[in-house]
Symmetry: C2
Amino acid sequence: MPNDADTAAGEEPPRARVSDVGPLSHAIFRVARIHKLLAGQLLREVGLHPGQELLMMRLWDEGPQRQTDLAAVIDADAPTVTRSVRRLERAGFVRRSPSPQDGRVTIVEATPASMGLRGAVVRIWAELEQMTAADLGEGDRQEVLRALGGLERNLSAAEEARAGGS
Amino acid sequence: MPNDADTAAGEEPPRARVSDVGPLSHAIFRVARIHKLLAGQLLREVGLHPGQELLMMRLWDEGPQRQTDLAAVIDADAPTVTRSVRRLERAGFVRRSPSPQDGRVTIVEATPASMGLRGAVVRIWAELEQMTAADLGEGDRQEVLRALGGLERNLSAAEEARAGGS
DNA sequence: GTCCTTTAATTGTTCGAGCAATTAACGCGC
DNA sequence: GCGCGTTAATTGCTCGAACAATTAAAGGAC
């Protein structure tokens, strides 16, 4: 019991605990952290770092594409994608080639070698989903999804308002 | 239209899009990213980096304590706390002192100077919470909280099982 | 008292991530 | 044709975060 300022006499009105502000935000933080931790532990078994699998998924699903498009869809900024792609290239999972039409863009594509990963990543994400959903019935699952979608909408709107407002 | 392998002839059954695996996990990723982004934008105005505010909150609420306790409660590992505390110390927000009872531990406490931050952080987290909750009524808010709590329980259980199992 | 295990903190290394600034190719207005 | 704003990609920097390994103090077993 580190201190007991709140229990004692009159030095100050017991200001609300800071931790009690923003329960939703705290909950999001905690869920996100442990979810990412688990994803990382599972992914490291196949040699990927958390975040990289999103990039690979996109490449597997949509085929070769520009880095900017990758950045937009996985919602990361350009420098992050640049470095992530470089690492994946070193690991042999993607290939980069300059676009013939536009001298600025480089096209990224999944290598044949990466197709072996694909199955593993699918398995891992299924496992992760199972861990997350666990006891939830289908109805609950849908409802949680809906709730998360709502949060995402709210946050996106707020972020957009910030960008536009100032 | 990046590729059209799936539409064409008989080379392979159109395997499910990898992105469609794990909708819950994807939703968590997206909400977490944008939430953290917003928190970062708000916090940078007072000179904190996302994550540091959790540490400060704990110090404000619970008073001086050991780094290990900090790590446990904000659910980060020891090295992260070590470096985070060092940065906060450089910034003048915390003070560190060796424990007289135990030569291994260092006690961390918030400096008087950091109390100015406290109000700002409370304001920022309230703002963040408002952005997150936005249109949600009190009932919905409670329900979302409950849902997130459930996810956290599931994930914690899974993580614990992993730790114990292998 | 000495050894051995546990625990607290640290450093090293790597990665994702964000902001700032830079470079280079594009393309439009004129 | 030329300049100028736009866009794609990159590099520099700093942080949080994880894992591995190391150091040092503490505390039991004997």
